[in-house]
């Protein structure tokens, strides 16, 4: 029986949990703001190269976090093009990396959802005189509840990945250490029970977030149909 781990006693765990939430939710917010309009535009737009763009976007859903991390590291490094901002090893860098990682997921999944709905409403919208952007926004609003799933898929990816935040954050205690990098650290220290415990904490948080999203969606759906 090992002694009770100090990480659970001195408030450090809550700081790590809070930072994990801040980073991942910020990335989800940014990726949603960019990803939903992008997905909608791809769904309703008709332009050359659209098919290839969709294939590329779908493929980018499988972006390895380590590759994203490396890419952002090279860009933000003092020797890189954005080095002057001094963003490397800050939570901001972690938000940037996770946003890049989940943007394709949110855009690709919402594109499919909008396209399916579009097929259904196309005629109706046209008869009402709605075109292009206006029509796309109407559809987006109409299927907002099913888009929640694409956003949650993005959140799942962001809160689960370790490769990108480890590289661009550096796993600095009290500054950039988040749940996944803390788990990786405890694993490498050979403290497998503590690592597993932290993993359970992370999964519980993700479960609570998803439950909250589901309840909000149900309540809103009942109220506004």
């Amino acid at each position: 029986m090992q002694e009770f781990p100090e990480i659970l006693l001195d408030g450090r765990l809550w700081q790590i949990v809070l930072l994990s939430l801040q980073v991942s939710l910020s990335a989800v917010a940014l990726a949603t703001c960019a990803g939903l309009p992008l997905g909608a535009a791809l769904a309703v737009g008709r332009f050359r190269g659209r098919d290839s763009l969709i294939v590329v976007l779908n493929a980018l859903m499988g972006l390895p976090p380590v590759v994203v991390g490396l890419f952002v590291y090279m860009a933000l490094s003092r020797a890189g093009p954005l080095g002057a901002f001094g963003l490397l090893f800050t939570p901001g860098a972690m938000v940037i990396a996770q946003t890049i990682l989940i943007l394709p997921i949110i855009a690709a999944l919402s594109r499919q959802a909008v396209e399916d709905a579009w097929r259904e409403y196309d005629e109706q919208l046209r008869s009402l005189g709605a075109h292009g952007l206006r029509a796309a926004l109407t559809v987006l609003w109409d299927i907002r509840f099913s888009l929640l799933t694409s956003v949650l898929a993005g959140l799942g990816r962001a809160s689960a990945e370790v490769g990108a935040v480890m590289i661009v954050g550096g796993n600095i205690e009290g500054v950039t250490r988040v749940m996944t990098t803390a788990i990786a650290l405890e694993t490498s220290k050979g403290d497998l029970p503590l690592a597993l415990g932290l993993g359970l904490v992370l999964m519980t948080i993700v479960l609570v977030l998803n439950a909250a999203a589901y309840l909000v969606k149900e309540a809103a759906q009942r109220r506004y149909g």
Binding site: L25, S77, V95, G190, D191
Partner: protein
Amino acid sequence: MGFIAKIACALLVALPAFGQQRYITVASTTSTEQSGLFRHLLPIFERKTGIQVRVVALGTGQALDMGKRGDADVAFVHDRAAEEKLVADGFFVERREVMYNDFIIVGPKSDPARAGGRDAVAALITLAETKMPFVSRGDKSGTHAAELRLWKEAGVDPAQGRGAWYRETGSGMGPTLNTASGMNAYALTDRGTWLSFKNRGELGIVVQGDKRLFNQYGVMLVSPAKHRHVKKAEGMALINWLTSAEGRRAIAGFKIDGEQLFFPEE
């Protein structure tokens, strides 16, 4: 949507609040971070100077590379030959020797290869002859460099055993020890990581006390001439403190289970 947008804004606004304090970034090794040395030393330094120290723990090769790119202010590593070369090349300045500890060879407690003792080189020759599984860092870290020097001295090319008895994990000391523990294999490790490592399984210390297992740690400032943003005053404050009487006392005072891990330079 308005509610969600407000939350998003609040989260984004909260982020820059992390960067208020005066701080430096130190590129260091997994052995110093994971043993708990920094958690022991840095609060003392922070209280004294008000400078926060942000440690990014990597293998020595990667840590030096991070300093070369200008992504750190100070490097605190253990590969003397590489450090001196980079000082000569102008990437780092003000190198000081801070402390030392030692490497040990760990392996199955029953020592099936009969490699145990004080002679590290003889042990490696025995291991190669008996083709006992040996797990290497394989990641260009300071420990990896030390291991390769020992193989060279033993006149053995471990690459011959690659895929058979010689396994390279390409990862940090902890993951490598996890692998060794899982395979019941031999491995070279620094004593600090070993003492704080919990998943030992059947492993124990097989070789220790050889002078060739000496492990020297150095600290140096990233060249402010090459990288103008380097926080010279704050970085030098850390370097001077680590080598001061007070810093040396703090290093000597770090113990795990009553055992001193690092020995400050005289």
